[in-house]
């Protein structure tokens, strides 16, 4: 640092000048500021945005999930809890009885989606979990996980090979 | 491709089944003929099927109860052997052989005709219950192909018109009559076995006696010591005619002289190799020659119990052999104190129930013991631990039938008939595209060209020769370049093939080798016992890949895959069935690669020339 820099003052003035420039510029260009007036204005979700989980269903409305627990195994936050049961005679051998995701624990890494061999879980609702006033309400059960449809994209996100076991 | 499982039965209807008195008595009599109850399962099931028409779950339980074995043992046999009906067959059970020789002879056309006529597919049954249709594997009537078996009767030398007539006749209440073609077509200068086949009236004991029958057996027991007999047979160089060509005398020599457990002789009359139909002829027309061979063998090895394991399909052969046995027993040629010599020999006829693998010696032993015919691990070899735990000799029918003549005329004479180290004559079963298919008893060293062009009258319709299985469908194929090979064990082995059971299947240029390979693979897929992994899974895979070639939906990589899949099976299983499945396919792919490559592009396959 040379002397000019060591006494700071000039540097401080330079700094002040920069911030002032921003201030003044923005004062007169408020419209071009990048801020969005959420929730009135919303940015379109990117195709691979990781929102709330969704359990996909077959055409007949049954869950694609076979309760293989690979998602629960892959989950780094241990937020997925599954209890399996015998499948229906016409369906897969195994199906979930309980499928809970604790949204408070979830880190939205989407490893569960990657681990799923059946394309049974996706994070394509584009939704964030809404606030709730108890921990209990952040545990999403099958009903919540099947409630929301996927957001539509012009180009669908990558699709897994759907396991026909 | 067969997808139905034999274990899936039709539901049982009506009151619980009960055996008739005579059936129970018969079963109880049978129990005395075997050291274990379990061995009675197969015969008992035959009796049950005769009584009830088919084998329901309840019948299985009944059989288990009467025989005195766990029901599972019965179930395993019913599941394993194809001849036990798991659902009621029609009044006429039409079994169309679609193995190679028959297919070469136009069996597909026949099958299509039957399907069209009856309006059912293989495995089906007409609504009126008159006919049921099955596609079956080789019925040992290759020289008279195509063949259809209706119930127990063979209708040979069929044509599509012929089958149509037959079915109409049967449908109109006509009587079922067996129609056999001509089997024996020719013989060399000194026929040994086939001379009987030519002479009428030989079937009975009297006829056989007239030709000097049983004199050699009597001479052996009365004048020769067992080791001398073995020595003589060794000297004659008689090699097993079943397939492997193992010297018979040497095999006998392996049997321990003293054994805590009884020793057994198992006669391998389970002739199942596609292209082979010689034993059937011997069994039906000269059973006494085989019986004499049995007596000689048992004397030589010191055996007192022999079983003739006859193929289930050979109903007529079984009748003929049983008749011969009864005659022999009556004449004290068998049983206790034979001809007053103090030598005891009990011979029992044991019917198989439709499993190619029971032609393998340990598979045969397992089957004889009342188990599924799944080959055993060797060692121990049957000569040490065989049937019912005792030392066991397993010999082919034809091999045994040579014995009386060898004893009569001496080993040197026998050696002179063949080529070096391959002494004697053998019965070649020629089928496929030759002018005169049939049985030919010729010296072992006869060249293939001579066999086809001189004895068999050349190729059918004077077509061009394309390929030939020299020893049944499990032998690698020979091409035109190999036509001069001698048909003995060693020469064929040197030519990269094998003499096998003597079933020579000739293929002319009209046939598609891909289809031939597919058919061969299909047969082994059907017959794999399901024990060893590579064979159980590999045979089916081979068929599926070849099927795709036939359908022209195969990919370029499939050729390599096919070779790979076949090579992977070889030498990695308990018995050689996997090798038998892989070898012909490999040889066909190797020698007719171009045809496979042609099948990669879309087009129409000539298939079986029809």
């Amino acid at each position: 640092m040379d002397f000019k820099e060591r006494i700071y003052l000039w540097e401080i003035v330079k700094g002040l000048w920069i911030t002032l420039r921003h201030l003044v510029y923005n004062l007169f260009h408020q419209r071009s500021m990048p801020t969005l007036h959420y929730p009135e204005e919303q940015r379109p979700m990117p195709a691979r945005y990781r929102g709330r989980h969704r359990l996909t269903q077959r055409d007949d409305g049954s869950l694609k999930c076979t309760a293989c627990m690979l998602c629960a195994t892959a989950c780094p936050a241990k937020c997925i809890y599954i209890e399996a049961q015998e499948g229906l005679p016409e369906g897969t051998e195994k199906r979930p009885q309980v499928y809970n995701i604790d949204m408070l624990k979830c880190v939205y890494c989407s490893l569960c989606v990657e681990a799923c061999p059946c394309d049974a879980i996706r994070m394509d609702t584009g939704l964030m979990p809404p606030p709730a006033d108890s921990r209990e309400k952040f545990i999403y059960r099958i009903e919540e996980l099947t409630k929301y449809p996927a957001i539509k994209h012009p180009n669908p996100p990558f699709l897994h090979r759907c396991g026909k076991l | 491709m067969e997808t139905t499982r034999r274990s899936d039965p039709a539901p049982h209807q009506g009151p619980p089944p009960e055996f008739s008195r005579s059936a129970v008595e018969e079963i109880n009599r049978l129990k005395l003929r075997y050291p274990t109850n379990r061995a009675v399962i197969l015969p008992a099931l035959h009796i049950a099927q005769r009584e009830f028409g088919w084998i329901s779950d309840e019948v299985m339980a009944l059989v288990a109860d009467v025989v005195g074995v766990p029901p599972m043992d019965v179930f395993r046999c019913v599941g394993f052997y194809t001849m036990y009906h798991r659902r009621p067959p029609g009044k006429y059970d039409v079994q169309v052989c679609t193995n190679i020789s028959c297919c070469l002879g136009g069996a597909r056309k026949v099958l299509r005709k039957v399907e069209e006529k009856l309006g059912i597919k293989s495995g089906g049954k007409t609504t009126d219950g008159m006919f049921s249709l099955q596609e079956v594997e080789c019925l040992a009537s290759c020289g008279t192909a195509p063949v259809v078996r209706v119930n127990d009767d063979f209708i040979e030398d069929l044509t599509p018109d012929g089958i149509e007539e037959l079915l109409e006749d049967l449908a109109n209440g006509g009587e079922l009559r067996e129609k056999q073609g001509i089997h024996l077509r020719g013989q060399g200068a000194e026929p040994v076995v086939s001379k009987d086949l030519m002479s009428e009236g030989i079937r009975g004991l009297e006829g056989y006696r007239k030709l000097g029958g049983y004199q050699q057996a009597e001479r052996a027991i009365k004048t020769m010591q067992p080791p001398d007999v073995i020595e003589l047979v060794k000297k004659s160089g008689l090699r097993g005619r079943g397939g492997a060509g193992f010297p018979a005398g040497m095999k006998w020599g392996f049997i321990p002289k003293e054994s805590a457990k009884p020793k057994y002789l198992c006669v391998n009359a389970d002739e199942g190799e596609p292209g082979t139909f010689k034993d059937r002829e011997i069994l039906e027309r000269t059973p006494h020659r085989m019986l004499e061979g049995i007596v000689i063998c048992c004397w030589a090895v010191g055996i007192h119990t022999a079983y003739i394991y006859i193929r289930g399909e050979f109903a007529k052969g079984a009748v003929s052999v049983q008749k011969a046995l009864d005659e022999a027993y009556r004449a004290n040629l068998l049983g206790r104190n034979i001809l007053g010599t103090g030598f005891n020999l009990e011979v029992t006829l044991h019917q198989g129930a439709g499993a190619y693998i029971c032609g393998e010696e340990t598979g045969l032993i397992e089957s004889l013991e009342g188990k599924p015919g799944q080959p055993r691990i060797k060692p121990p070899f049957p000569a040490i631990v065989g049937a019912f735990g005792g030392p066991t000799v397993v010999n082919n029918v034809e091999t045994l039938a040579f014995l009386p003549a060898i004893l009569e005329k001496g080993p040197e004479w026998f050696v002179g008939l063949g080529s070096p180290k391959n002494s004697g004559t053998r019965i070649f079963c020629v089928s496929g595209h030759v002018a005169r298919p049939g049985l030919y008893e010729l010296g072992m060293g006869v060249p293939l060209r001579t066999l086809i062009y001189e004895h068999c009258g050349g190729m059918k319709n004077a077509n061009k020769f394309k390929a030939c299985f020299p020893g049944g469908s499990s032998s690698p194929v020979l091409t035109e370049a190999d036509l001069d090979v001698r048909m003995d064990f060693d020469s064929l082995a040197a030519a990269g093939s094998m003499a096998g059971s003597g079933g020579v299947i000739v293929v002319d240029e009209s046939a598609c080798m891909v289809c031939v390979a597919e058919r061969v693979a299909g047969f082994y897929h059907h017959e794999s016992c399901g024990q060893c992994t590579p064979c159980r899974e590999g045979t089916g895979w081979l068929e599926k890949i070849l099927h795709r070639f036939e359908e022209r939906t195969a990919h370029k990589e499939d050729l390599e895959l096919l070779v790979n899949a076949a090579e992977g099976m070889m030498g990695r299983t308990i018995c050689v069935l996997a090798d038998a499945a892989a070898m012909p396919v490999l040889s066909i792919v190797k020698k007719f690669r171009k045809e496979f490559e042609e099948h990669l592009s879309p087009g129409k396959c000539e298939g079986w020339g029809d």
Binding site: A72 | S528, G540, K544, G571, I574
Partner: protein, 554 residues
């Protein structure tokens, strides 16, 4: 004693041993499906192929006898190629439904595929489909598609359980494993077939879909269902036990175990267990705190003085029994203590057999006898307690294990006598008649929730580790007994099992100089040299050769 070399390393094996045995002796791993050291050899999976010098083809090491001078290669390129081929064939028709297959994670086929093949499938044709989800019997479900037809299960049932209900039917790739129609597999040893199954074909209905195996943690334990004391592994996760598997112990159970023992964990997980102390008030039992309960117990025992008595259970560990005897003889100064022996005739379920199950359903009868004798408690101490109770001479009684009286012949007499006792405290797992007449019920930890040792009927001392924490407020026996001592105004008893065991060894002669380290996982006997129970190895020749005899004896 043939000498041979395997992978260049010399080894000497006993005559009659196979190449597989020789390789195992050297610690060389050879993959296998059908081979099992305790079963007759079948040699059908063809996975254990090895190359033997001077043999043209690869040969299965499980069937090839080791002979003098043999040179065996287990990792040559030829062998590797063979293993790869066999695995490829195995997987041709094997459904790839690992995600829903319960075996995934402990599946031999999975493991060996990754270890010896790891090549993608070339099979593009339709697989052979077979029935799935078949109820094979009350304990087992079968998936015929997954079955690799190794016949381990069939062989086990035939050889050990003398049960011919399983078998392979049909041939070729249509072959299936099945039972005779309408005759389910119902055998007390049936679940061993699930352990034996190298794939997910046979699955235990009890464990099916309960947990993926990779979540499970293991705790070595001892089965307390009967006095055979099979060595077990308790598999648990998050405080809940999911299954019990046999742990290989040549001296005790080999690798086998009975179904009853396997399902014995259920009562530990049960919701109906006594989870907190209870006190009898006017209208029956009421929940209370440990403090209050112990105050009541303390007051009663203080007042009782030498009229206090105790009943121990031969289901308790050696350590607990020792502490129990110490509590009464030394701390409380009462000689009225004993343990209640079970009467075999009254036990429900399987009677004794010649394989594993023993008549005495209490695991530690011998230990109890030895320890009580060392403390000078009379052999028939329980009878004295009973008589004293009948005479109204007892002021306070501590009963360990509520199930104590369920297996005695004179049960009614006991209950009547106990009703006369002024104060009865019952340490209990569950509620029953005995706890209902108790003044105080104390929640007791189960065998899986405490540490300790058990003495087998033949004198083998086995160690059991704690698998899960006690349910609710339950305490292990050592802790509970110590609390009683403290409540009665005496010195606390030691709480650590190992410390108690040291004291036990010092006091009880017949434990010799055993230590926890010496007992280890396989157990140890105080005196050496005594013959141990051995599971026989049945070889192929014996089985197949004796085909006839086998059918007749059925």
């Amino acid at each position: 004693m043939p000498k041979l070399t395997v992978d260049g390393r010399p080894v000497e094996v006993e005559a009659g041993q196979t190449v597989m045995n020789a390789a195992e002796k050297l610690g060389i791993e050879i993959p296998r499906f059908c081979y099992h050291s305790k079963l007759p050899v079948a040699g059908n999976c063809r996975m254990c192929l090895v190359e033997v010098e001077k043999m043209p083809k690869l040969t299965t090491s499980c069937t090839t006898p080791a002979t003098e001078g043999m040179v065996v290669l287990t990792k040559s390129p030829k062998v590797k190629e063979g293993q790869k081929a066999v695995l490829e064939y195995l997987l041709i028709n094997h459904p790839l439904d690992c995600p829903v297959c319960d075996k995934a994670g402990e599946c031999d086929l999975q493991d060996q595929y990754f270890a010896f093949s790891s090549t993608p499938s070339r099979m593009i044709d339709q697989k052979v489909h077979k029935p799935k989800r078949i109820e094979l019997g009350p304990t087992i479900k079968l998936d015929q598609e997954r079955c690799v037809l190794c016949t381990r299960c069939v062989r086990f049932l035939e050889v050990y359980a003398h049960d011919h209900s399983l078998g392979t039917v049909n041939r070729g790739d249509r072959a299936i494993l099945t039972v005779f129609p309408g005759r389910p597999l119902d055998n007390i040893y049936s679940l061993n077939t699930v352990d034996l199954c190298p794939v997910g074909a046979l699955t235990s209905k009890d464990f099916r879909f309960k947990k993926r195996v990779w979540f499970l943690k293991n705790a070595d334990s001892v089965c307390t269902f009967c006095s055979n004391q099979c060595s077990t592994v308790v598999q648990h996760d998050e405080g809940t036990i999911y299954r019990i598997l046999p742990r290989e112990n040549e001296k005790v159970n080999g690798p086998w175990m009975c179904d009853t023992g396997r399902l014995e964990y259920r009562f530990i997980n049960a919701e109906e267990r006594v989870k907190c102390p209870m006190v009898r008030r006017d209208e029956g039992q009421e929940r209370t705190t440990w403090r209050e309960a112990m105050e009541a117990v303390g007051a009663a025992f203080k007042a009782a003085g030498s009229r206090a008595a105790g009943l121990a259970s031969p289901r308790m560990t050696n350590e607990s029994l020792f502490a129990f005897a110490k509590l009464f003889v030394e701390t409380l100064g009462s000689k009225l203590a004993g343990f209640v022996k079970a009467d075999a005739g009254l036990v429900e379920g399987a009677p004794a057999d010649d394989f594993l199950i023993k008549a005495d359903k209490n695991p530690n009868t011998r230990g109890a006898e030895e320890i009580f004798a060392a403390w000078g408690v009379e052999v028939d101490g329980a009878r004295s307690v009973l008589e004293a109770a009948e005479g109204g001479k007892l002021a306070a009684l501590l009963v360990m294990d509520q199930a104590l009286l369920e297996r005695v012949p004179n049960r009614e007499r006991w209950l009547k006598a106990l009703a006369k006792v002024k104060f009865v405290a019952v340490a209990s797992l569950a509620e029953n008649e005995l706890t209902r007449l108790a003044h105080v019920v104390l929640p007791l930890a189960s065998w899986a929730e405490e540490e300790g040792t058990y003495t087998r009927f033949d004198g083998l001392v086995q160690r059991s580790w704690r698998a899960v924490p006690p349910r609710g407020e339950a305490k292990d026996a050592l802790g509970l007994l110590s609390q009683v001592a403290v409540a009665a105004g005496k010195q606390a008893l030691p709480l650590v099992a190992e410390a108690v065991f040291k004291a036990l060894v010092a006091k009880v002669r017949c434990f010799g100089s055993l230590t926890y380290a010496a007992i280890g996982k396989q157990g140890a006997k105080a005196g050496s040299g005594a013959a141990t129970h051995k599971v026989e190895i049945v070889n192929l020749a014996k089985d197949k050769g004796a085909g006839g005899a086998e059918a007749r004896t059925w």
